[in-house]
Symmetry: C2
Subunit: 132 residues, 2 copies
DNA sequence: TTAGGTGCAAAACCTTTGCCATCCC
DNA sequence: GGGATGGCAAAGGTTTTGCACCTAA
């Protein structure tokens, strides 16, 4: 059975209170503010448990570092090619597409992830700047 | 300026001759058959140069390991959640979607990546089996 | 000639894991 | 009580980098 612990609850709460699709490391730093002795291993282990529970999902369409978000209704993302930030896009998810492709290919399709790429509004107006 | 070298040419040729979306390590092993003393650093460096040239693109599908492919016309992918393999899907890319979302959001969108998730045909018929 | 490229090995990074103490049910 | 979880540190695996030596243009 999976138990309630302060660590797990804190990690989930942090994820639910941000729209920033953070990395494990950022979550770790945030969690440390509440639980100073929390360890990275704990963060990673809990992120995995929460994924298995279906409460968290991992975004991996780009980049070497994994990013996480509290699971909500499926939605699309936008990733800025300059600053690396990830935003939600409120374009409705095309679920018909899954059925259509499944039927034609014989694959069993459970969902799809879609990520737009380009320049966010901040980066369109900046000539220089750091990546985060 | 970027030069032509045997190493770079070999890496690109290997990528162009497969549809398997290989990892850097697999490319390294293949390249070693032709250039026994090639190093992994060279493979990684060239994959990056080829990406900057727009000849190769990187897929970060399952978190830790990057996978690469020779750049072709934009297309969608399917990833099997059981065996981890990646397939191309020949569903036409919806380029109108980029313009539509760009117009509504003010983001500058250059493209989008889409990945279906589910079970491939092999894994639908197997009860057990290893992930590759 | 010379800036870019290579090989090698070490470093850097992110993530996982072993071990033992601790905590939740 | 006993299995699940946490903290710590070490291990694991991928990618990057420093450096001295090449090599294509």
């Amino acid at each position: 059975m999976t138990r309630h612990t302060k660590q797990r609850e804190t990690i989930l709460r942090i994820l639910r209170s941000t729209r920033s699709h953070p990395t494990a490391d950022w979550i770790y730093e945030e969690a440390k503010k509440e639980i100073p002795h929390i360890s990275k291993g704990t963060v990673y282990r809990n992120l995995r448990v929460l994924q298995e529970n279906g409460q968290v999902s991992e975004l991996n369409l780009d980049g070497t570092v994994s990013r996480f978000e509290a699971k909500r209704q499926n939605h699309y993302h936008f990733r800025c090619e300059r600053c690396g930030r990830v935003f939600d896009v409120d374009e409705p998810v095309d679920t018909k597409l899954d059925r259509k492709v499944a039927k034609r290919t014989g694959l069993r399709i459970s969902c799809h992830q879609l990520e737009f790429r380009g320049l966010c509004q901040d980066c369109q107006h900046e000539q220089t700047g750091r990546r985060e």
